[in-house]
């Protein structure tokens, strides 16, 4: 069932691709700001950054409708922003501010914005995959043609919840799209040391669902693969497993310098940086450097302004800690 989808920029308007580029820049700069703030000790706990994986989040989320939903992992800043969460409120949450997305109760690993269908970032590996079943089931039950998409890492394909979720999604023919961001490492361990198959999308066959392995650094490829899966789900033809091959430029978390990587690996992947790839494609389509720089400049300003705003917000009111346990 594995296949590779070739990119077809022809159908996607240039304006849309420039929008994707802007979003990818925003996410990249957002993550770099997070990295800086963690290094400075401004932010608590841990963070899991996704520089290098922007094409998966942007390509996939931009293939969804506003009423479709998306769940993701603790490495979820990119996905939540790609689904449309505001930059300042996302920063605010990571900074533990009362005006953050979750009122400062969630933090970096739990960014959620129900207003845009970013239904949650989950910090237990694979835990949101069963929840995605329920979201998809609700659409099926209510007769809606909305779909739900769940991002997860390659490591999650070895946890029980993954298998329970894919099996039941297929048996119930649920409108769900499972997008595995295969960044080659489960935390600190290379995938070959934990997983007996090379192509994770092969697991789709065991659940009689459609599966594909794609270039996760090519935003157009990702977009097209997810659009195809969404069409299948909306038509009542059930779930799809997409394995998007990509690479995280940084370590697993801020505590991880990623010393386990073989020499040259990062450099090779940097040459396939998803932003560079999209810029190259746009140049070929006739977009000049000035315009590309303007897109980046606009993204950088947006992030800087959002961060400035978020930093100025007050801490949460102490009594809010007792709220939201129950309805």
């Amino acid at each position: 069932m594995s296949s590779s989808t070739s990119s077809s920029t022809a159908e996607i308007p240039l304006s849309e691709q420039l929008e994707w580029l802007r979003l990818m820049h925003e996410i990249r700069v957002f993550e770099e700001e997070c990295h800086r703030m963690f290094a400075q000790g401004i932010v608590r706990g841990s963070t899991h950054l996704g520089q290098g994986q922007e094409a998966v989040a942007v390509g996939a989320c931009r293939a969804l409708r506003a009423s479709d939903t998306m769940s993701c992992t603790y490495r979820g800043h990119a996905a939540v922003l790609a689904k449309g969460a505001p930059l300042d409120e996302a920063f605010g949450e990571i900074l533990g501010k009362g005006k953050g997305l979750c009122g400062g109760k969630g933090g970096s690993m739990h960014l959620t914005d129900m207003r845009v269908g970013a239904i949650g970032s989950f910090a237990i590996i694979g835990a949101h995959l069963p929840i995605a079943l329920g979201v998809a089931h609700a659409a099926q039950y209510q007769g809606s043609d909305d779909v739900t998409l769940a991002f997860f890492g390659d490591g999650a394909t070895n946890i029980g919840a993954f298998h329970e979720a894919l099996n039941m999604a297929s048996v119930w023919k649920l409108p769900a799209i499972f997008v595995c961001e295969n960044n080659l490492y489960g935390e600190y361990s290379p995938i070959a040391s934990t997983t007996p198959i090379e192509r994770l999308s092969e697991r789709a066959a065991a659940y009689a669902m459609a599966g594909a392995t794609i270039d996760g650094n090519d935003v157009v490829v990702v977009h097209d693969a997810v659009a195809e899966a969404a069409a299948r789900a909306r038509a009542g033809e059930g779930p799809t497993l997409i394995e998007a091959l990509t690479y995280r430029h940084k370590g697993h978390s801020r505590a991880d310098p990623a010393a386990y990587r073989p020499p040259g690996e990062l450099e090779r992947w940097l040459q396939r940086d998803p932003i560079t790839l999209l810029e190259g494609r746009l140049r070929e389509a006739g977009v000049d450097s000035e315009r590309l720089d303007a897109v980046r400049g606009r993204a950088e300003r947006a992030v800087a302004e959002a961060l400035e705003r978020a930093k100025g917000w007050p801490d949460p009111e102490p009594e809010t800690r007792l709220e939201h346990v129950f309805a």
Binding site: G103, T112, A127, P130, L133, G160, N167, H324, A327
Partner: protein
């Protein structure tokens, strides 16, 4: 008007009425559909409501609880069954980390009107892995409501209240009470979560018990009455929220407290009740509070062993007498 029904029949009617009341309610779990459930509690519901409203699942407890969470998130009222409460261990992450915390972690962006029914408790010879009082595992997890009905009327009323409640509610159905008969009003009353029942009034000692132990406490109270001692029996009915006020008020009248529970003492609801009243009401006690618990082993299989594991009427009675004679 009322009629006599079993605890099992009361649960069945509770589910039927919940399904009939609200199109958003759907019932699902392992074998709950055409086969009517492992304990026949869902018998007939599939025929009446059809495969969309009553749906079988694979043996996948994580998927079941996750489906409940996701469905509730999108506006449905899931009524999930976990066949044995012991299997909550299989999906503990979904219950303790996802269901209980999702609303809080998102700053109140989501509301989760989830009901999960599970068969609970010992006394039926099901052995160590199918007999536990699993509600105790979840006492330390804020965000969950825990319901432990002991009578057919409460089984019906609290199940209905659980389904109508906007928050996650776990309903523990005691296997050893499935055939217990009791009165159910017509129409039956929908209960209220967080309200204890004073099962029997008395002024000499307060006996607190849930499910099987509630019924044993009533037997103990009757035995004590033969000796002229009047025990008050309280059934909390829900452990979260816990109606501590009713227990406190009773203790103020009786000045003696005994809690009977079918689980070992550490980390149990009975230990929590005692810790809380001792901490704030020490002057009310004329004798040390008594906690009558199961033995500190897994639940054994053989009938004689399991009966010894469970607090018996005799064991509770002896502890009550020691408290009274202190």
């Amino acid at each position: 008007m009322s009629e006599t029904v079993t605890y099992r029949e009361a649960l069945n009617r509770g589910m039927a009425d919940a399904l009939a009341e609200d199109e958003r309610v759907f019932l699902f779990g392992e074998d709950v559909g055409a086969s009517g459930g492992a304990f026949k509690i869902t018998d007939g519901l599939f025929d009446r409501f059809g495969p969309k409203r009553v749906r079988d699942t694979p043996i996948s407890e994580q998927a079941i609880v996750g489906t409940a969470i996701g469905s509730a998130l999108m506006g449905l009222r899931p009524l999930a069954e976990i066949m044995f409460a012991d299997f909550a261990a299989v999906c503990f992450d979904q219950i303790a980390n996802e269901l209980a915390k999702y609303r809080y972690m998102t700053g109140g962006q989501v509301t989760l009107p989830v009901t999960i029914r599970m068969s609970n408790g010992a006394g039926g010879g099901f052995g160590s892995q199918h007999s536990q009082a699993a509600e105790n595992w979840l006492l330390n997890v804020p965000g969950l409501k825990l319901v432990v009905p002991a009578t057919p009327a409460d089984a019906y009323g609290l199940l209905r209240a659980a389904v109508r409640d906007p928050d996650p509610v776990l309903v523990f159905e005691h296997k050893h009470l499935f055939n217990l008969k009791g009165e159910l009003n017509d129409p039956p009353a929908v209960g209220e979560l967080g309200k204890a029942e004073i099962v029997r009034s008395g002024e000499d000692i307060t006996l607190v018990g849930t499910q099987l132990m509630r019924h044993r406490c009533v037997e103990v109270a009757e035995r004590l009455a033969d000796d002229g001692v009047e025990a008050e029996v309280i059934d909390p009915r829900t452990l979260a929220p816990l109606d501590l006020d009713t227990i406190r008020a009773s203790l103020d009248r009786t000045n003696r407290l005994l809690v009977a529970q079918e689980c070992p003492p550490d980390g149990s609801w009975g230990a929590s009740v005692i810790a809380r009243v001792v901490g704030t009401q020490l002057e009310a006690f004329d004798a040390p509070p008594a906690l009558v618990s199961a033995e500190e082993t897994p639940v054994p299989y053989a009938g004689v062993l399991e009966e010894m594991w469970l607090p018996s009427v005799e064991r509770i009675l002896d502890a009550a007498k020691r408290t009274l004679d202190y």
